[in-house]
Amino acid sequence: MERMEGTLNGKPVLVIGGGMAGMTAALEAAEAGCSVVLVEKSPFLGGRVARTHQYFPKLCPPLCGLEINFKRIKNNARITVLTQAQVTEISGTPGDYKATVRVSPRFVTDACTLCGACAEACPAERSDDFNYGLSKTRAAYLPHVMAFPARYAIDRAACKDGCTACRDACVYGAVNLDEKPETRTVEAAAVVAASGWAPYDAAKIDNLGFGRFANVVTNVLMERLAAPGGPTAGKILRPSDSKAPAAVAFVQCAGSREENHLPYCSAVCCSASLKQATYVRALYPEAKISMFYIDIRTPGRLEDFYQKAAADTGVALIKGKVAKVEEDPATKDLLVTAEDVQSGRKVTERVSLLVLATGIVPQTDGLPKGFNLDEFGFVANVEGKAGLYGAGCVRRPEEVSATVQDATGAALKALQCVVRSAHHG
């Protein structure tokens, strides 16, 4: 395929965050002619979706769309990708911003060929954050099999003192252990904040047992357990004994729609849990599923997905809030007590794995000053205020297609600033 070159007059668009929203904003702007600087804090693009096994409602792999997007980036000379980078400050006015970008060393240059000799030679291990710490990689590592940029990285914090095994092993001279952090200034006509979300810290929800009981996991972790590249090679085994679960319960609104935790609805967890129920049922047709919910929220055509999942006789949907979770110390099974509000009865279920549908928390910690935040911490776009835009889950909890839609709109807002800056500048 051909590389897109040549750009519109005017300054570039700066996109903060290389997940689905950020990648989309960058690509859509670039394919309309803008030059773009895409800044991502981790060593790879793809964010949360790269860690997701399948999308609802199609049960298709996110890696498929990521492959297309990576290809679009590779073929587009208008996009500059900076990984392990953070925008620390923005100054200026719409059409004429200056951003300070701090780039941390990867210790592997673009001379890397992916041959893997560094990881083979590496004597140290690190916890694999891609798998939420459920597995380990070498300190010289490829973030995941489809990582883009397709380059190894070195986690210096995990290295043994004075070790240069990776550098010695690399015949291409791609390892540079002396790399230093650097600070760059990027000019931009507009900035799109697409820094995404983090799962709510489930340990803050006392009664649900996360962090205390081994077999209480979160929905994001469940995605890794189901993924072929995950810590259980896609088998969904429970953490305490690596056994297949006989019964799995989902606790909806784990933290969401609660004044003491997240007062808003995280919007995607209902569909996500229904989807994860299908993961379990496909792998273990005997496994029983129960899902405790307040309201099932599957808007639009997602209703079809809900009806299909609910039609499965192995899936019980119980309207009620979970009051208590206990662990059977002998089996490490969990006893989940809830009130079934429709029958008015108190129910206690024994399950082998409990999945908390933890909510979406906007990731605004790393954002430079200048963006408006709402009372929940989401970036709020203000009508008529140009230049700085939020897109995707940093702006509102939303599913992938809504994120892409939002980011495409944000790309247009940015394009307008580029066009205006070209006229004035």
Binding site: M4, C64, C115, Y172, P228, R301
Partner: protein, 751 residues
């Protein structure tokens, strides 16, 4: 300009350890006598790249074959002139990393891949993009909230806009609302929608030309050059536009179908839309006698989430009802408001407003199922509800019942309209009585589509976007929600999916962006998503066309029109460059400069088929380059071994597979053929919508070929593979090879 091929082989990353590089280079030098062939230990490094550039400058090399890693990596390093003949031979992920080093079979594999790469370069021609004068004007169809936003946002980016609205006034439904629910921080209280200002802005915008009381009579042409005839105020207006945003909105679900919820029983049962009209005009009252409504009961999902009515959720009705509850209390704090729902759906920050309304002491909400709406005492209504949270059936008296009726898209199903037309013709002109009767029956089934046209495209495949489900021309792709099957035509707002005004505004900005992008790409002769930037396009050797119409029917994007005889009329700007037409053509007359039936057939011929006694079977694997091919790369990255007797040929889409290749391969002694494409069916993953499905369908015809050749049908296998099933792919290949060995060699070997 004569083609001068240079072959550059990398021996790095273990390639040199696995292969005899000199022997490999000999294939290029001796067999094909390429003008330049060089081996370098680190081809993607500065020195290696300099070597290539030097040959280009000094030797005049103008066609490159790079034998190194997968084309999916080091793309930037090997990015030369985008128009030149260029091929990457995957010696690393598909050879060195997944097959036994220094092995005869591994070497043969590499040599075959190199042969295929060289003949491909021999057959390919440099690209000459078609860049014609294009219009960059955006046509927006529909002047409601989505259309107005699309128009203003496009204009703000500097583009001319033509806005067409069928009503006399702009603004659509949202303009008729007295107040909206809060869609921005702090997410409490009622807020105006602000449509009046936006309408003024559109009307006075120098870049926006507005036609009201207007409709589209005809849209012909292609992206960048759509010729649109509008009928506005009784006269025809012709205009040329580059892209189209379809924002035709929604209509309320027909309430006459809601008799089971009391509609029609009493004037005091109204829909949510009727409630808005009442609230905009004055106090909330009982239509029957004009007395104030002291108690109002809302029935949620009236028609929505109901398999007998609208199976989908209309998404906005929960928030709309909460707003209407707030409106009631704003005017009459003592009114009782009841809401009977299935699930309250107030996603994201909207939860805040839900709490606010719910906290009003006279708002009563319950999950429940409405059993009956009946006349109650004193002219009121009685609503019976069971399965409530109170556990028992309850009867609630209300002055007014509001049905939260759902949204139906104002769309037209282009494919269905075309099918209706075809059926109507066939009902008269069919060959047999039976055919005529069948066609008449079909025409009757499709009657509802009669006269529903909106865009009136002159496309062979129908006058409007094809519907996906429930009448929505929505994209099926999670990652690419703006993907439509008609290039440069984007649906937005409630015609695409049920959504509220706030989401419609965002959606419209996104659709405007896609429209802008499509005209910008058209202006330089490049394809849009998913092959954005592709400068190749199909050409048709029409003198050999037999008017079989396969290409015009199978193109998922309606690219090709037809003349009266059925000869295809290409529209390169509508084309997405998938090559499905090329795969469909039995006469092999469709080709791209860098992708053709002849090219792949030559690649197949370039594979050396060892004689039977060597016991080296040969199997061809046609793979979708978007999903299956990367999956095989990952198998290589994970150093998973599989049978080296396969030869992989990547295709733009499995749908571009022409069955002549299979016949060629089998008659040339290849022992088996495997096809690996994307999943198809309702949840298809094919980036070109129907490619993998069409390829599968074409295989039916191959069976005849096999019979003719007296070969076992098991020599061909077709698989659906998702990209994350990379762990399965080597096993799939190995078990097919086992089957082939069991069947024994193809008897045509050596012929």
């Amino acid at each position: 300009m004569d083609k001068k091929i240079g072959v550059y082989l990398c021996s790095g990353c273990g390639i040199g350890d696995a292969l005899d590089m000199e022997k490999l280079a000999k294939v290029a030098r001796s067999e094909y006598k390429v003008p330049s062939c060089q081996v370098h230990p680190y081809l993607c490094g500065a020195e290696g790249l300099a070597l290539i550039r030097k040959d280009m400058e000094e030797q005049g090399v103008n066609a490159l074959v790079i034998g190194a890693c997968s084309p999916r990596v080091k793309t930037e390093a090997f990015a030369f002139d985008a128009k030149m003949v260029f091929d990457r031979v995957n010696l690393r992920e598909h050879v060195a990393w997944c097959h036994k080093p220094k092995d005869e079979d591994t070497q043969m594999l590499a040599e075959d891949y190199l042969r295929m790469g060289i003949v491909k370069a021999q057959k390919a021609e440099p690209l000459e993009p078609v860049a014609e004068e294009v219009s960059k004007t955006i046509l927006v169809v529909g002047g409601g909230v989505a259309g107005i936003t699309a128009a203003l946002e496009s204009a703000a980016a500097g583009y001319e806009v033509v806005l067409v609205e069928k009503q006399a006034q702009l603004g659509g439904f949202v303009a008729s609302l007295r107040q909206g629910y809060p869609q921005a921080p702090p997410y409490v209280g009622l807020t105006p929608e602000g449509m009046a200002e936006k309408i003024q802005e559109v009307l006075y915008h120098p870049k926006i030309k507005v036609y009201t009381s207007a409709r589209i009579k005809e849209t012909s042409g292609q992206p960048g050059m759509f010729d649109v005839t509008l009928e506005a105020g009784g006269t025809d207006v012709k205009t040329r536009v580059g892209a189209i945003v379809m924002a035709t909105g929604w209509k309320p679900y027909d309430p006459s179908k809601l008799a089971h919820l009391g509609y029609g029983l009493s004037p005091d049962v109204i829909t949510n839309v009727e409630f808005e009209r009442m609230a905009a005009e004055g106090p909330v009252k009982r239509p029957s006698d004009g007395r104030p409504a002291e108690s109002v009961l809302f029935i949620q999902c009236a028609g929505s989430r109901d398999k007998d009515h609208l199976p989908y959720c209309s998404s906005v009705c929960c928030m709309a009802t909460l707003k209407q509850a707030a409106l009631i209390h704003e005017r009459n704090a003592d009114a009782k408001v009841f809401v009977v729902y299935k699930d309250m759906r107030t996603p994201g920050q909207y939860e805040r407003f839900y709490r606010q309304v719910q906290d009003h002491p006279l708002t009563f909400m319950t999950k429940g199922e409405v059993q009956a709406v009946e006349a109650g005492p004193k002219g009121g209504l009685k609503v019976s509800v069971n399965n409530t949270l109170l556990g028992e059936e309850v009867a609630i008296a209300a002055d007014l019942v509001v049905l939260a009726a759902g949204m139906v898209p104002n769309a037209a199903d282009g494919e269905a309209i075309r099918a209706l037309e075809d059926a109507k013709i066939k009902a008269v002109k069919g060959d047999t009585e039976n055919q005529r009767a069948e066609a008449a029956k079909k025409a009757e089934e499709l009657k509802a589509h009669e006269g529903t046209e909106i865009l009136n495209l002159t496309y062979r495949q129908g006058p409007d976007l094809p519907a996906l489900r429930y009448g929505f021309p929505d994209s099926h792709f999670v990652c690419f929600p703006y993907e439509t099957r008609r290039t440069a035509i984007y649906a937005t707002g409630c015609v695409r999916a049920p959504m509220d005004a706030s989401h419609a505004r965002e959606d419209a900005a996104g659709a405007a962006m896609k429209a802008i992008q499509s005209v910008e790409l058209a202006s330089v002769g490049q394809a849009v998503h998913p092959r954005a930037g592709d400068m190749s396009f199909p050409s048709f050797a029409l003198q050999r066309c037999t008017q079989c119409k396969r290409c015009t029917e199978e193109c998922p994007f309606g690219t090709l029109d037809e003349d009266e005889k059925g000869t295809p009329k290409p529209n390169p700007y509508r084309c997405r460059r998938c090559g499905i037409c090329m795969g469909a053509c039995p006469e092999r007359i469709i080709s791209f400069k860098n992708y053709s039936v002849d090219m792949i057939a030559t690649m197949i011929k370039a594979v050396e088929v060892p004689p039977e006694e060597d016991e080296k079977p040969r199997v061809l694997v046609f793979m979708c380059e978007n999903d299956a091919y990367p999956a095989l790369d990952i198998a290589g990255l994970n150093r998973v071994q599989y049978d080296p007797n396969v030869r992989v040929i990547p295709l733009r889409c499995l749908g571009s597979m022409n069955i002549v290749w299979i016949a060629d391969a089998l008659s040339g002694g290849v022992d088996g053929v495997m096809l690996v494409g994307c999943k198809y069916g309702d949840d298809y993953q094919c980036h070109f919508v129907r490619g993998s499905e069409l390829a599968n369908r074409r295989l039916e015809n191959v069976k005849e070929t096999l019979q003719r050749l007296q070969l076992e049908s098991e020599r061909i296998e077709v698989h659906q593979l998702a990209i994350n099933e990379y762990g399965k792919l080597p096993g799939m290949i190995d078990s097919f090879m086992d089957k082939i060995r069991e069947m024994g060699p193809n008897p045509y070997k050596g012929f």
